[in-house]
Symmetry: C2
Subunit: 339 residues, 2 copies
């Protein structure tokens, strides 16, 4: 059997309450007693049972994080920000992967709730769950922070990149390079894609460059197969397309386009220009190096952790919204349109 507070109390010849006070340091204890208790704790190698403590206190120092996938380094880097912030505050992290599936996402959240986590961060929540009242109900019961979601619920805190601005940055950059036939490549089930699509449609329609067929949805945008799926799709489309440029909603998709071009012997950026999004490490490693829109992923994660902490410490009262700026990282995948 493991050593409990009772064993310590007995051996130190004090009450369990005193031991508890020594451990938590929240009530006065005479120095001599304190020393005595601490000595016993050391000699018994006593470690307080967090499970019991947190159950008793009706809270926990666990936070839950839900991500749609771990195959996109974007999420790993966000996680890193979250992790760093929370371990400093001696919270532990529970991780759940929704696989871009709304039902699974709900299950993750429900699991976390049943475990009484003290708060939940959801990265890129599924659009379906945003449309019904699921999250409204959750947010009433527990601190909730969304990363990169743009619906506005009153009880939820948000940290997002300004992906509308970012998308406009990217598209205008392409426009400045004289491109007008720009393919738009997106994935499914995330606000982020919708935001970028709106920006794309808005700009292109305004200039009368818009063509329905230029909008391409490649399905799951963060899976193991995203790069290859995108390549496949582009392989079908590109040969018969007059497009001279591509704006991809994330770097994985952009990498897929690059690979398709290699297969088709299309020179980048001479014959086709590409702009990605996120600036994950991969984008610097592929050839040519991707021009892309930078999201500060670490910051996204650590700010979300910060807001969640504020919510936890204010009894779910403080709700904030943080919008981070994006910037365009100019590298080698964009050139002036030659047509």
């Amino acid at each position: 059997m493991k050593t409990t507070i009772v064993d310590v109390a007995k051996k130190a010849k004090v009450s369990i309450a005193t031991v508890s006070r020594v451990i938590n340091g929240n009530y006065p204890v005479k120095e001599a007693t304190r020393e005595k208790v601490l000595a016993v704790i050391r000699s018994l190698k006593y470690v307080p049972n967090m499970q019991a403590r947190e159950f008793n206190r009706q809270k926990s120092t666990i936070v839950g994080v839900v991500v749609p996938s771990i195959y996109n380094m974007f999420f790993a880097e966000v996680m890193n920000g979250v992790e760093e912030h929370f371990t400093n505050e001696s919270y532990s992290l529970m991780l759940c992967c929704s696989k871009n599936d709304s039902k699974l996402e709900m299950r993750c959240i429900n699991d976390f709730m049943a475990r009484n986590v003290s708060g939940i961060i959801v990265v890129s929540p599924h659009t379906e769950n945003l449309q019904n009242t699921f999250y409204e109900r959750i947010a009433r019961q527990i601190p909730l922070v969304f990363i990169n979601s743009y619906e506005k619920h009153p009880n939820i805190s948000y940290v997002s990149n300004d992906q509308d601005a970012g998308a406009r940055l990217a598209i205008n950059y392409l426009l400045e390079h004289k491109h007008r036939d720009i393919l738009f490549i997106r994935g499914e089930h995330s606000d982020s894609y919708d935001i970028k699509e709106q920006a794309y449609v808005d700009i292109m329609k305004r200039r009368h460059y818009f063509h329905e067929k230029h909008m391409i949805n490649i399905g799951d945008g963060n899976s193991n197969e995203t790069v290859d799926n995108t390549m496949q799709k582009v392989l079908e489309i590109l040969p018969s397309s007059e497009a001279t440029a591509v704006f991809a909603c994330n770097d994985l998709m952009a990498a897929g386009v690059v690979n398709a071009c290699k297969k088709l012997n299309i020179a980048i950026p001479e014959e086709l220009s590409i702009v990605g999004y996120d600036n994950i490490a991969l984008s610097r490693f592929i050839e040519p190096k991707l021009t892309t829109v930078e999201q500060n992923m670490f910051l996204l994660g650590s700010q979300a952790a910060q807001l969640l902490l504020e919510k936890i410490n204010s009894d779910n009262q403080s709700s904030k919204r943080i919008m981070l700026e994006n910037s365009l990282v100019e590298r080698e995948s964009v050139g002036v349109c030659s047509r």
Copy 2:
């Protein structure tokens, strides 16, 4: 206040014991009572408090996973295997990142212990912690599974790739291509590097191709900066080196070598051949595509989950060791030595 089992019992006019039996289905309950209780549970939206349940049962359905970094997709893919296996068994995952630091790793483990997780998986445990008795003590108290560790403790289960064989595969492949001046690039604080180094030293000494100066340690092998650090180091060394090939302990380092070559205008594979290790997605995306040794990362993770489950269900009695085979993935980064 949240609905508890007491509320349900009251409303259903039965005892809490009966409600408990209905929920767990572990004791006979008359069908009529069962229905009644279930109806109340639904009407009250009652969700059992896992925290209370697990505290009472003196166990938990949480498993802890420790990884040295999340900047190498290797760990993400292993995690994915672990996650998939455990969510099917309705365990939850706690994640902790040790940043390749032995003290932090111990802290992660201790946190997990204090939370009464039911088992722990450590990916690439830190060599320092392997050398003292830390893990022996832990293994006596709790199910422990190591991924890619090669010390053998009796109470620990292991899932590893046969990295000795894998390294030999890679080096012999280079040898077959007539290379004899082969740089060996490794990182710090993991068994995996030591294993590969031994294989390298053994083969090269036997053939009298060994040179101390060909062994390069680039520090942390899985950080955000691994690629760039490796590039930096190689940039210093390569110009004055007679090496015609490189064996890198992971693909991140191999990518660093590729980048260095680009800066130095060294053609791959004509002037320098490179073999990596892991076969992370990145290795297919960079130019030239990396020849590398495949580790089945998903399998590594799911097998580890399997072994941990066996340990949990056998009260920490079953200890197994699984050694997975590697294979060489031939791509574009190796050619016949031209000297």
